[in-house]
């Protein structure tokens, strides 16, 4: 009997396909197309301390096999999110991974305290690919010290009820080094990868196409970057769970991330093109794993690293 389930830190998921933060709205938008509980879990849109309008438009530019976005973490803020969105998700019977994002180390601490008491949380994703307003807008995830500080703040305030998953940026020279740093700071798992910083210039206006000038590149265009990052980090930290994401559009893509070392896979941009992408990928992945003779998802995790 094939065991499709997987674990991230201490949390178990029925299957290894989740949504990616920022790519599933509040869950309600997708629930009209399929029961959310059919997925391994829902990763909610990274939520900040206060309501956020997000950035001006244009916020998006389609790129070859991908898209560039600069949404700016539009959202209701943690209080309204916990009051409105989480109770609804709890009625859906789906595993919930809450994603938080801060502008200061203290933001991360406060967010962690607020999430601490919420029941039914499977894991906490800590999005540290945000500008640090206390450090010239430098992204937390791009420096070992600030990445550590953000994760330590969460670790000190969250308790041990659910694993902390640090979401890392690929825009660093040594991602395994950052991963090692956040794990020593208390992260139980890693989410790899966030979007890749990019820019599109509109050749008619001859200015950056996005109002925010730069944006995060996602979609199949970045999948090889994700596979590489996951492979490198799994090699450095083979016992740390990885939630992989980056351009996964079908079951074979998901398998690549798992073979590289991901225990679970989030589907992001593919959902924009097809609301049923995640459930379709789940079915495809299960069939492929069985077909290749694996007895469980766990057997396939990191299989690309095996010795001959």
């Amino acid at each position: 009997m094939f065991d499709f389930s997987t674990t991230l830190g201490s949390s178990r998921f029925d299957n290894p396909i989740l949504t990616a933060s920022g790519c599933a709205g509040s869950g309600k938008e997708l629930s009209q197309f399929f029961p959310l509980a059919s997925l391994g879990g829902i990763v909610t849109k990274s939520i900040m301390l206060k309501p956020r309008s997000g950035r001006a438009t244009p916020r998006m530019a389609e790129t070859p096999s991908g898209m560039l976005n600069s949404i700016g973490l539009q959202g209701p803020g943690i209080d309204l999110f916990l009051e409105n969105d989480i109770p609804w998700l709890q009625t859906q019977g789906v595993r919930i991974v809450i994603s938080i994002a801060g502008e200061t180390v203290e933001d991360y601490a406060v967010l962690a305290r607020k999430v601490r008491g919420v029941s039914g949380v499977a894991a906490l994703e800590v999005n540290i690919s945000c500008p640090n307003v206390e450090n010239r807008g430098q992204v937390f995830a791009c420096h070992p010290e600030t990445a550590r500080a953000a994760i330590e703040a969460v670790r000190r305030n969250v308790g041990g009820d659910f694993p902390i998953i640090a979401k890392l940026s690929p825009d660093v020279t040594d991602i395994a080094g950052i991963a090692t740093e956040v794990v020593s700071a208390g992260a139980d798992g890693l989410a790899l990868i966030n979007t890749v910083l990019g820019m599109v210039i509109d050749t008619s206006t001859m200015r950056p196409k996005l109002a925010g000038k730069t944006g995060g590149l996602s979609g199949p265009a970045i999948r090889p970057v994700a596979v590489r990052a996951i492979y490198q980090v799994h090699q450095a930290l083979p016992h740390v769970s990885i939630l992989g994401m980056g351009g996964v559009s079908n079951g074979q893509d998901a398998l690549q991330l798992i073979l590289a070392g991901a225990s679970a896979v989030s589907v992001g941009t593919a959902t924009f093109g097809n609301p049923l992408a995640a459930v379709t990928i789940k079915s495809e992945l299960e069939a492929i794993l069985i077909n290749k003779g694996f007895n469980s998802t766990a057997e396939a995790v990191g299989y690309a690293h095996r010795a001959d």
Binding site: G22, G25, S53, G54, T57, G77, A211, A270, F272
Partner: protein, 285 residues
């Protein structure tokens, strides 16, 4: 407002006809029961480029007309301007090909409960959803006058059957190649007065909708418009297609034109601040 169109489904819709009409393509799709849920103003989101294409995002198209014959027999018609990679791909599809379609999506035009005198204003292919709206309004005993404007005659979309469904049709073109030379906003004030208009419905470029909102405000009449913002998903998950809209509580929020629109109250849209986060916006930085 704030209500997800829970009747949306994802289907492979077969193209049953594809005709070039002026600068546009009129394409009919066989859609089964999806047609039964369509209201004027709704849109569909189509995959473009075929399997393995480098275009990963859907394209949103306003529904021109929907016909439901019962027993899983339904048709949706679109009017497509092939000006980009995605719309050109759709326009070049042959009869018998299938395209992934999600619909119906978004809000629809509010229909008056009592017979009213309505002015429908369309810019370019933005006129598409107005003909279905016109049929519904006529069936409710409304008077319907229509204004269609474009840069040039080729870009006026006014099918014969559509013309028959209105009490009067006024055409404006910027180059004077058809109808009155000028813009729709040049002829609307007089039409409002002559026909004692109670409500304006509009669809077209944002600049036109802004101009109509100003006229409607001056005349003190209701204006419902279908906005055009570029979307990535069409289903409310990506937060790309937002624009600043003032709520009943007086607070401006960045709302999604795919879920809170495309049909919005013209007066509530903060046109002068489009593409920005106006000061005082909820959650503004």
């Amino acid at each position: 407002m704030h209500k997800i169109n829970n009747l949306a489904t994802v289907i492979d819709a077969e193209i049953t006809s594809n005709r070039k009409v002026g600068a546009y393509h009129h394409i009919a799709f066989s859609v089964g029961n999806m047609a039964a849920h369509v209201r004027p103003g709704n849109f569909v989101a189509l995959s473009v480029g075929g399997p393995g294409a480098s275009t990963v995002l859907r394209r949103a198209f306003a529904i021109y007309r929907s016909t439901h014959l019962g027993n899983n027999q339904g048709q949706i018609e679109l009017v497509i301007a092939p000006h980009g990679q995605g719309s050109s791909w759709v326009a070049s599809r042959a009869v018998g090909e299938k395209v992934s379609m999600i619909g119906p999506l978004g809000t629809s035009f509010g229909i008056p409960s009592e017979p009213a005198r309505a002015l429908l204003v369309g810019g370019g292919y933005g006129s598409a959803p107005l003909f279905g709206l016109s049929e519904v309004l006529k069936s409710r005993g409304c008077r319907v006058d229509m204004v269609l404007g474009a840069s040039t005659a080729m870009k006026i979309y006014a099918p014969l059957e559509g013309k028959r469904s209105v009490n009067s049709l006024t055409v404006t073109t910027e180059d004077g190649s058809a109808g009155t030379q000028g813009r729709v906003s040049d002829v609307i004030p007089a039409l409002i007065d002559e026909n004692a208009i109670d409500v304006i419905y509009s669809c077209g470029p944002m600049g036109m909708l802004e101009a109509i909102t100003e006229i409607a405000r001056t005349k003190g009449i209701v204006h419902q418009c279908a906005v055009e913002e570029s979307m990535a998903c069409g289903i409310g998950v990506c937060m790309t297609c937002v624009l600043p809209v003032k709520g009943d509580d007086g607070v401006v929020r960045m709302l999604r034109s795919c879920i809170d629109g495309p049909v919005m109250d013209g007066e509530s849209v903060q046109w002068q601040a489009k593409r920005t986060i106006p000061e005082g916006t909820w959650g503004g930085i």
